[in-house]
Amino acid sequence: MDGDGAFSTAFQLIVSGDPTLMQIVSLSLRVTLTALIIACLIGLPLGAALAMARFPGRGAAVVLFNALMGLPPVVAGLVVYLMLSRAGPLGFLALLFTPTAMIIAQSVLITPIIVSLTRSVIEDLWAEYEDQLRSLGSSAMRAIPTLLWDGRFSLVTVILAGLGRAMAEVGAVLIVGGNIAGHTRTMTTAIALETARGDLALALGLGIILLTLTLILNAGAFVSGRVAQQQAA
């Protein structure tokens, strides 16, 4: 495999500001970040509630969310496909083969990750501070925002795990998005397409760009986390 070819291809694509590439990158970011926000809005409170609530079947719920972290993307994609297909129950929404369908599929994939990892972080915090919070008159449910806030530096890692999964994912978005040029083609589906065409240098070049993007997002989160931590200290 021609590694030099891939690096020079990646470099040329970036410096030329190739409009197709820019469009693909912006769609990838839009889909992934929107899915991440949705997953966090659901997953952070749900994970915290699961950490502190005591109810029959809680163990089963914990195991279920843990198992769903390993949900194969192609299965998630297929389920969302069958729901959104014209022949499916939500077909009237006409969402199949749109970016919205891709956001839904990715939200389904990463919400269990956010839920499970949040539960793990908050469980530890709750074990440590339950007595204090209760003595301050806080009920378990009212303590959720406090614990989420105090665990925020650990939760950044949780959110980054969800981001990583969404950025890297190809199986689900390929099925529900259809990899339509200029409409639902993302970085990962473009890489799959170029591999299929045998243009391995271009495929790897796109891979390098995707990795760089992921690196930048992670570095951004790391630095802002550090700054916030210093201000808090």
Binding site: L41, A87, G88, F97, Y129, L136, T146, T195, A196, G198
Partner: protein
Amino acid sequence: MNLIKTSTHRQMSMRLIKNAISATAALAIAASLAAQLAVSAGAQDDYITVASTTSTEQSGLFGHILPIFEEATGIEVRVIAQGTGQALETGRRGDADVVFVHAEPAEIQFVEEGYGVERFPVMYNDFIIVGPADDPAGLSGGRNAVAAFSAIAESEAAFASRGDDSGTHQAEQAIWAEAGIEPEGAWYREVGSGMGPTLNTAAEMPAYTLADRGTWISFENRRDLEIVVEGDDRLFNQYGVILVNPERHDHVKAEAGQAFIDWLISAEGQQAIGSYELRGEQLFFPNAAEQRS
């Protein structure tokens, strides 16, 4: 977490307010994104969805002809590239307005079952048998696909099958059937993927495989694969286009879809197809007029 240790009620309520503000901000972002999505979905109404095959998309044909069509009519065409079997299934479920595929018996069945309105032949190219340059089954220069498949089975030379119910896979199965062979054994590998991945696999093994010429010409990773058999009439590869029946699925954009079909078989569309060349070779040969009569 020294924060909690110094907590007072007041600090806690401050935090709650902060949390509420950031949660509201996040919700607002989500809502605006959703609104933006809704707007972009609503604004772009003049489009059709075409379920087609990997060979037409990956060979670059659509990249060549669609801008011409879009320029002429203002109708955007969104292509989903699948195997023929999957593309017809997409049409059956009503998830596409038009199917553009290459497996005549399956297409005729699609129309007869009432899922499609009418089948229009559009263009053809041919299938070829490609294989490693050292040619373990001794096929090179042959013109008979059935004899070639028999020789592959006899010598148990590795063969990579699409195994995905695509048009190419159906053509391959028809040749095995004509040779009276049920391919099985370690030499017969069902890859279960598109033409490109199958060629990647065949190049790596190395193995023989049946490919459509369009994908082959546009394929970049041939390594030491080359064409070993071509020119058999059985390897003729006809493409057809069908409007999904609006009586089955009333959301089908019948007018715009039929406009696309009419254009494909018009003199202008046929000329656009015939003018697509890659590496100096014509990939698809328009034949709407001859086939219809």
